[in-house]
């Protein structure tokens, strides 16, 4: 006989009546896991969107030359372009052509809008290194020196409100995940206490036969782990199905920003790890709850 075994003999399975999936606990955990996965997916998707937004407009500026006289406008544009190319840290400079301008303005002016002799500003896109981007004033000064009527627009500025919204939503998603973790832990505490009450007689007998607290706690831990595993699996599968459907709908929308919110493989792996984390959390919480309750017995 081992002096102080941590386990019961090979088959401690039957020591607590191990219902298949009984009671509301696994279902409550499934709902929790479902919501957690959705919140986490939203957070991760928004993260991807934020990054792609950054990659699209990050470190780029647009220079607008508003000049009624087309000759004058074109001359200024050329000077600005050559001036920009001299500045270190400017990686590419490009004037938007007629067609591109037409496409940009079409929603406002209708087809063929540009053909009318409408004074349209010249637009010059420039990509900058991060260093140059952080010292935009140098570029502003250089442009102002050659073309006083030119306006330098920081592209990120336009998207700043959107970027802020995305950041806020990401915090919200993170907050929700944390709340769900807390609620899951609380559920497990309640379930563990209920289970302790139900099996008080059995526990007392085991206790008086010299079962250690750890031995008894293991019985409950495994039960609760099974419930959590079931709940986690159901929650994850349902959430994944919902995410795939939403992903399809978003794809059909063809929106660039929403489309960029897709989840890469690593994000899916992370979501898949949530139920595993849930099982461990449930086991840990159950163990602590039960050891504390047993500690009150002599």
């Amino acid at each position: 006989m081992k002096p102080s075994p941590r386990k019961f003999g090979t088959a401690d399975r039957g020591l607590l009546p191990e219902g298949r999936i009984t009671g509301p606990m696994p279902w409550v955990l499934a709902i929790m896991m479902f919501l957690t996965v959705l919140a986490a997916a939203a957070g991760l998707g928004l993260g991807t969107a934020a990054r792609s937004l950054d990659a699209d407009v990050g470190n780029s500026i647009t220079i607008q030359i508003v000049e009624a006289n087309p000759d004058f406008r074109n001359a200024q544009a050329r000077i600005v372009i050559s001036e920009l190319q001299k500045i270190p840290g400017v990686t590419s400079v490009r004037r938007l052509g007629e067609e591109e301008m037409a496409r940009l303005l079409e929603p406002w002016l209708g087809e063929g809008g540009l053909e009318a002799d409408l004074p349209v500003p010249a637009l010059i896109d420039a990509d900058l290194t991060a260093e140059a981007y952080s010292n935009l004033q140098i570029i502003r000064d250089a442009v102002a020196a050659v073309a006083p009527s030119a306006r330098v627009d920081d592209n990120a500025q336009w998207l700043a409100p959107l970027a802020k919204l995305i950041a806020a939503l990401r915090w919200l998603a993170a907050g929700l995940v944390i709340l769900m973790v807390g609620a899951t832990a609380a559920t497990v505490v309640l379930a563990a206490r209920a289970s302790l009450d139900t099996h008080r007689g059995t526990i007392e007998v085991l206790h008086l036969m010299g079962a250690t607290d750890v031995q008894v706690a293991r019985l409950f831990q495994r039960r609760i782990a099974l419930d959590a595993l079931f709940g986690g699996a159901v929650g994850l599968v349902t959430a994944a199905a919902v995410l795939l459907v939403i992903g399809n709908r978003v794809g059909a929308l063809g929106s660039e920003l929403l489309g960029s919110a897709g989840l890469p493989l690593t994000s899916w792996l992370l979501l898949g790890a949530l139920p595993v984390g849930g099982v461990f959390l449930a086991m840990l919480v159950a163990r602590i709850t039960i050891l504390r309750a047993l500690g009150r017995l002599l």
Partner: protein, 226 residues
């Protein structure tokens, strides 16, 4: 040693006694005298409100909680109310102390079957307690108490629910166990039982106080176990 439940009067007061290793004791007294309470102190379900209890040579009153399981495993208990685990079969109930001690399943099949046969329940090994008669439940409880060959066996009215024939048989079981070295304490008010074991000694409880009709307790034993 004294024991008080809550704020009432002491249920056990000023008890002083010792049990000799390998002895066979009957604990008698009227209902409510405190027999169960005294056994509870011995099987470590309760600490005394005051005084000292030594078990297997160690003070169990101040013993840290985490050492108690090791001591409990050396003690077999037949509870007055059996305390069989409802959802376990007779076999699994009897196997419980062995499982607690970490015995593997393959090693407990034989001893548990033998023990069930011994108490005449070989044919009911897969029955749940609820489907057993009072006497059968009591025999399961006894089988469970002795299966792990405890050093100290505490039996609280173990023959209260069985016919005289079975009582004799169970007492014989305790007797053989005692001959193998187990110290036995049987709480009972069945005087016929007491007469059966010639070498036994009697502790009489009277409203929480001990009386010593046989005088057996007056000579302090050399190897006290409790």
């Amino acid at each position: 040693m004294g024991l008080r439940y809550g704020t009432g009067a002491e249920t056990l007061s000023d008890l002083t006694f010792s049990l000799q290793e390998g002895g066979f004791y009957f604990l008698t007294g009227a209902s409510g005298a405190g027999k169960t309470s005294l056994l509870k102190l011995l099987y470590l379900a309760q600490r005394p409100s005051r005084g000292l209890i030594k078990l297997f040579g160690e003070d169990i009153v101040t013993m840290p909680r985490k050492r108690l399981p090791g001591f409990r495993r050396r003690i077999g208990v037949v509870f007055q109310d059996f305390r069989l685990v409802r959802h376990l079969s007779a076999f699994d109930n009897v196997a419980l102390p062995l499982r607690v001690a970490g015995v593997e399943d393959k090693d407990l099949e034989t001893p548990v079957r033998e023990m069930l046969n011994w108490v005449g329940l070989g044919h009911r090994s897969s029955a749940r307690p609820a489907t057993l008669s009072g006497g059968e439940q009591q025999r399961v409880a006894i089988a469970r108490a002795v299966i792990a060959r405890p050093e100290l066996l505490l039996a609280d009215e173990p023959t209260g629910n069985v016919d005289p024939e079975m009582a004799k048989r169970l007492l014989h079981l305790f007797d053989s166990l005692n001959k193998l070295g187990t110290t036995v304490v049987v709480a009972t008010h069945d005087v016929h039982l007491i007469a059966r074991i010639g070498r036994s000694e009697m502790l009489r409880l009277d409203r929480g106080q001990i009386s010593d009709p046989t005088g057996a307790l007056r000579n302090p034993p050399r190897a006290p176990i409790a």
